[in-house]
Amino acid sequence: MAPLLAIENLSVEFPSPRGPLRAVDGVNLRVQAGEIVGLIGESGSGKSTVLLAVMGLIARPGRILPGASVRLKGKELTRLSPRAYRGVRGYEIGMVFQDPMTALNPAMPIGEQVRESLKVHRYCRSRTEERERVLQLLEAVGIANPAQRYRAYPHEFSGGMLQRVLIAAALACNPRLLLADEPTTALDVTIQAQILDLLREINRTRNTAILLVSHDIGLAAEFCDRIAVMYAGRIVEVGPAWQVVAAPRHPYTRGLVGCLPVWGGRKGRLEPIPGSLPDLTQLPRGCAFADRCPHAAAECREGEVPLLQLAEGREVACIRAEEVMAG
């Protein structure tokens, strides 16, 4: 089955005083229809930049390097004109951002903000129909009394409610793919549970695929079907969500999991990863994690380290993966 979204060899560079900064470096990722995929990493790993690249929102002077391909249902997006891209954003791909308090226009009623993308994409035949659909959407995301709340302004809502409004706006034209950049990071944990519940319900009932960016591995393990772990702009491990967290194969993923205070109540010492992120303006050709890796050998630094297929659906960018597994 052809994937809904296929990202191939995606690299993104931004100029910096110290030379070009490679935020994303040769990323390959596929999202199937109806699937929930998590893109996990620490700050600076490039996970949000991947989402922006898919949305065609890499602003100059940043640029996607030649040779990259982003295909949605087989259609190449990277070569679209700005005008054509506007027909994709909000229509074929919806996006939810991290901070619902700043993502909405404070001077515009929330109903109108949800209606905007219906208007832009001429999704409905009349204003009455648009209004009708906005009310349905607000109801579907769990906003009580949508008819009354239509004219309300963002400041009249709590953070969780605003995130629901944003999700309604992202879903307005019934896109097949929803990009969510840390959609619950700004929210409290009980509200986070409500929003994740809503996203899961949308995924099930509408078969909307979700590409979720998150720094929270525990959250991703529960919410996603598959997880891709990013480090220094590269994907280092991909696999079924629970497998990646329960039995990580890449030394970086192992390190990340070792940093987590575990829910089981283990009171042992945490094991931080020594060192810090490499300089993204001078990424090594070999493995970017080698300097912090307990398993690193000379050959790790020599050539590019591609994602190697392990078991079914499991890929790891580590030439020593077998030794790592052995301990």
């Binding site: 409290d188 940093c259 987590l260 205070p261 829910w263 009171k267 945490l270 931080p272 990863i273």
Partner: protein, 375 residues
């Protein structure tokens, strides 16, 4: 030579409070005086029991209300006075020397305000705080200065809590000078401090912007340690950090506690971090503690319906049955009468829940819970 050894055996005694009221640090009250019973440790809790340490901090029915002034016009139009935010609404607990009490709750639950009011960074509306037997709110200027030396705070955001125009040396020399060290010793101790938190002496002449978030938090911790505190209120100290850096800071806090016998009030919304670090945990909701008790029993078998929902909502704990609460917490501007949680409580809500505020009552194993349904 460890500069650490020195400060530990010769701690200054707090100045006597203005009204001459000086208390002993132990639970002992003056004869003939009845003291309220606090949710303290009990024999059931092994970790606390083995500490068998006296109370360092006692908080007694603490309230902090903020007044939101209305304009004259608004008062005339609405016919009402100023509005009041009930940020902390009657909190009592005891913190023992060498212990870590985790304070969890969602935004707006009053946990940060509680931490700051305890340190007298906010003036309390009502209530008492005893630190090492002294009434914190009645300390005179000299006593307050000594209290501030012994009780320090580490803030969440190390990008905002360090002065960007001062070098690390300048940042650290302020508390060292306050302790009365001559310049030469300040230099030596500043070096010892940065090395203790995992930086090196060459970092002393750098500015905050030259450091990463984790390094800045180390500097903020060094600044707090410079005073030789006994109590550190840590207000979300790792929330702004990536997990790999977060783990380093958590380990550092644990090491320092071991070495210096520090007492922590650890405020966080991150339940797994609190579970990892704390001996006991207090759960706040709308300005009140709804449950407090030893960490593992509380996490394994939460008693209060809110604690149950909160723990079930946190990701990363396997596929436990999730309790999804309806709605959002009520505004602390108009806290509901009765139990603060009754508007969202999934358990049966009786008449008492709506009208009578439940008191924290003791259960087995040193656990305390405020819920009518469990009474």
């Amino acid at each position: 030579m460890s500069v650490w050894a020195e400060g530990n055996h010769a701690r200054p005694v707090l100045g006597v409070a203005a009204d001459g009221e000086a208390r002993r640090a132990t639970h002992g009250a003056a004869p003939g005086e009845t003291r309220p019973v606090f949710p303290a440790h009990a024999e059931g809790d092994m970790r606390v029991a083995q500490e068998a340490s006296p109370a360092l901090l006692e908080v007694e029915d603490l309230h902090k209300h903020f007044i939101l002034p209305r304009t004259m016009l608004a008062r005339l139009l609405t016919g009402q006075g100023n509005r009041v935010v009930h940020a902390v609404n009657g909190v009592s607990f005891v913190l023992h020397e060498g212990e870590t009490l985790g304070l969890v709750g969602e935004s707006g639950s009053g946990k940060s305000t509680l931490g700051r009011t305890i340190l007298r960074l906010h003036a309390p509306t009502r209530g008492r705080v005893w630190f090492a037997g002294q009434d914190v709110f009645r300390l005179d200027a000299a006593g307050l200065r000594q209290f501030r030396q012994q009780a320090q705070i580490v803030f969440q955001n190390p990008y905002a809590s360090l002065n960007p125009r001062k070098t690390v040396r300048q940042i650290l020399s302020v508390p060292l000078a306050l302790r009365g060290l001559p310049p030469r010793e300040r230099r030596i101790e500043a070096e010892a401090l940065v090395e203790r938190v995992g930086l090196s002496a060459r970092h002393l002449d750098q500015y905050p912007h030259q450091f990463s978030g984790g390094q800045r938090q180390r500097i903020a911790i060094a600044r707090a340690l410079a005073m030789h505190p006994r109590l550190i209120v840590a207000d979300e100290p790792v929330s702004a950090l990536d997990v790999s850096v977060q783990a380093q800071i958590i380990n550092l806090l644990e090491d320092l506690q071991q070495e210096l016998r520090l007492t922590y009030l650890f405020i966080s919304h991150d339940l797994s971090v609190v579970r990892h670090l704390s001996n006991r945990v207090a759960v706040m909701y709308l300005g009140q503690i709804v449950e407090i008790g030893p960490t593992e029993p509380l996490f394994r078998d939460p008693l209060h319906p809110y604690t149950q929902a909160l723990l079930s909502a946190a990701p990363g704990q396997g596929r436990r049955e999730r309790i999804i609460l309806q709605g959002t917490p009520p505004s602390p501007l108009e806290p509901p009468p009765g139990c603060p949680f009754h508007t969202r409580c999934p358990a049966v809500v009786g008449e008492a829940c709506r009208t009578v505020r439940p008191a924290l009552t003791e259960r087995a194993g040193g656990r305390w819970v405020a819920c009518h349904l469990l009474a």
